[in-house]
C-alpha cells in the first residue's frame, strides 16, 4: 500500500492546492481544528478559497488566519461569532457568506461523502434558508431540498491514526471532522500520534482508513480553549 504518512503539512498538500478550490474543514470553534494544515495553506498563498466549516475560527486562530490573509472568497458556515476580521470583510462586501443551519451543514457533508446528491429536511422551512429551494410534502409535513457537498479536499484533525489511516478522534474534537473527511475528494488528516497498524480494536475505529488519503503528525499541539470555565473544589 502506498505510504499515507507525509513528513509535514506542506508535503501532504503538495500538488493538491489551486486557486478557487473548495476546502471542507473539521472543527467546532477552536476544538478539533486542523491547525497545521491551515498554516500550510496560509504559507502556500493559494487564493479565492471556498471554505466549508461550521465556524470561521476567531481572529488569527483557525480559519481566521486565512481570513486575515484574504485567501478566503466564500465561507459556508453555520455560526461565525467572535471574529472581528470576518465581520469587517463581510460588512465591506469582500467576503461572500452562505449561512447553513448546523445540522443541515453536517448532513450536506455526510450526504456528499455518501454519494447522496440531495435530501429533504424540515430544518429551515418558512425561513430565509428555504428561499429558492424545492418544497415537498411528506406525510403532511413540508420539507425542503438541500444538496450534498463535495469538496476538492478536506482537512481534518484526529487524535491517533494507524499506518493504514484508520483514525480515532478524542472527545468533542470529533465534531465536523468525521463528515468533512468523507466529503473531500482527497482527505488530509493531521493527528497527534501514528500507531502501528493493528494497535486499534477494529470495533473501535471512528473513521475507516479508506477516507484518509494523506496524513501527518502535527504534534506537539498547544490546544486553545475559547472559554475556560471551571468549578471550585469543595473544602475537604
Amino acid at each position: 500500500m502506498a505510504d499515507k504518512l507525509f513528513p509535514n503539512a506542506a508535503a501532504a498538500l503538495d500538488g493538491l492546492l489551486r486557486d478557487g478550490m473548495t476546502i471542507a474543514s473539521g472543527g467546532f470553534g477552536l476544538c478539533g481544528i486542523p491547525e497545521r494544515l491551515i498554516e500550510a495553506i496560509l504559507d502556500s498563498g493559494v487564493q479565492r478559497l471556498v471554505c466549508v466549516s461550521n465556524n470561521a475560527g476567531i481572529d488569527n486562530e483557525g480559519l481566521g488566519k486565512l481570513l486575515r490573509s484574504r485567501q478566503i472568497a466564500k465561507m459556508i458556515a453555520s455560526y461565525v461569532g467572535e471574529n472581528k476580521e470576518f465581520e469587517r470583510q463581510y460588512l465591506g462586501g469582500e467576503l461572500e457568506v452562505e449561512f447553513v443551519p448546523q445540522g443541515t451543514l453536517a448532513e450536506r457533508l455526510r450526504a456528499g461523502g455518501a454519494g447522496v446528491a440531495g435530501f429533504y429536511t424540515r430544518t429551515g422551512v418558512g425561513t430565509l434558508v428555504a428561499e429558492g429551494k424545492e418544497h415537498k410534502e411528506f406525510d403532511g409535513e413540508t420539507y425542503i431540498l438541500e444538496r450534498g457537498i463535495r469538496a476538492d479536499i478536506s482537512i481534518i484533525k484526529g487524535w491517533k491514526a494507524d499506518e493504514a489511516g484508520n483514525l480515532v478522534f478524542r472527545k468533542t474534537a470529533r465534531n465536523f471532522n468525521h463528515p468533512a473527511a468523507t466529503a473531500g475528494k482527497v482527505c488530509i488528516a493531521e493527528v497527534e500520534e501514528i500507531v502501528p497498524t493493528g494497535s486499534f480494536d477494529p470495533d473501535c475505529i471512528h473513521l475507516p482508513g479508506i477516507y484518509v488519503n494523506r496524513m501527518i503528525v502535527g504534534a506537539p499541539y498547544d490546544k486553545k480553549i475559547e472559554f475556560r470555565t471551571v468549578r471550585q473544589r469543595e473544602a475537604a
Binding site: Q102, T121, K171
Partner: protein
C-alpha cells in the same frame, strides 16, 4: 416581583421528566441545568457531539478537546458518549430529543420564533437553532417579556427573520407562562409570576392568547 433569570429557568425546569434527553440553548436556558429536580435523571445533549454533559471541570482539569456548544470547558459523566456533528443532528432532526429550551427575540401568536438575526446588524449565523426547533419534540422558549425598550416580544407576527414557523409549545417570561396543547391551538396564559397580574401581562402583550 417578576421572576429573575434563575427563577425563569427553574420554572422551565419543572417541565422536565425523568429519563428525558434535553438540549439547552445559550443564556438563560443554560441555567435550567442547575434546576433539575433532585432524584430526576435528565441527560443533556450538546450539539457539538456529546450526550451526558457534566459540570464545569475542576481547575487544572480543563480539556481543550471537551467543550459544550458554547465552547466552554465541561466535564464528562459515567454515562457520557461522544459522536460526530452528523450523528448529533441526526438525533436532533430525527425527533429523538425530548425537549429543548431556547431564548428568543420574538415569538408570534402562531408559535413562530425569531432568534437568529436582526437585519442591518452583524449576522452571526443560526448555528443549530433551526435544526432544534424543526426536530425536537417539545420547544420551550425562555425570554424577558418585553425588549430592553419595553416593546412586547410575544406579538401577532414576527417582524424579524424566522428561525422556525409554528414550532413553539411553551413560553416562560419574567411575568408569566403561556402554553398550547398542540400546534393548531392558540396559546393560553396558564400561570403568573408572584406579583404579576393578568392586566399587566395583557398590557405588555400584543399577541392574541386565551385568558388564565
Amino acid at each position: 416581583m417578576p421572576w429573575t433569570r434563575d427563577q425563569m429557568a427553574a420554572r422551565a425546569a419543572r417541565e422536565l421528566k425523568d429519563g428525558y434527553y434535553v438540549n439547552l440553548g445559550i443564556g438563560i436556558p443554560t441555567l435550567v441545568a442547575n434546576n433539575i429536580p433532585p432524584g430526576m435523571t435528565v441527560t443533556l445533549q450538546s450539539e457539538n457531539g456529546m450526550l451526558g454533559i457534566g459540570p464545569f471541570p475542576y481547575e487544572g482539569e480543563e480539556d481543550a478537546d471537551l467543550v459544550n456548544a458554547g465552547k466552554q470547558t465541561i466535564s464528562p459523566l459515567p454515562s457520557t458518549s461522544f459522536f460526530s456533528s452528523a450523528d448529533s443532528f441526526a438525533m436532533i432532526r430525527g425527533g429523538h430529543i425530548d425537549l429543548t429550551v431556547l431564548g428568543a427575540m420574538e415569538i408570534s401568536e402562531k408559535g413562530d420564533i425569531a432568534n437568529w438575526m436582526i437585519p442591518g446588524k452583524m449576522v452571526k449565523g443560526m448555528g443549530g437553532a433551526m435544526d432544534l426547533v424543526a426536530g425536537v419534540k417539545r420547544i420551550i422558549v425562555v425570554m424577558e417579556h418585553t425588549s430592553k425598550h419595553g416593546e412586547p416580544k410575544f406579538i401577532p407576527e414576527c417582524t424579524l427573520p424566522l428561525t422556525g414557523k409554528n414550532v413553539v409549545d411553551m413560553i416562560v417570561t419574567d411575568l408569566c407562562v403561556f402554553q398550547r396543547p398542540d400546534h393548531d391551538s392558540p396559546f393560553r396564559l396558564i400561570e403568573l409570576a408572584p406579583g404579576a397580574t393578568a392586566e399587566e401581562v395583557a398590557a405588555k402583550t400584543t399577541a392574541h392568547y386565551l385568558p388564565l
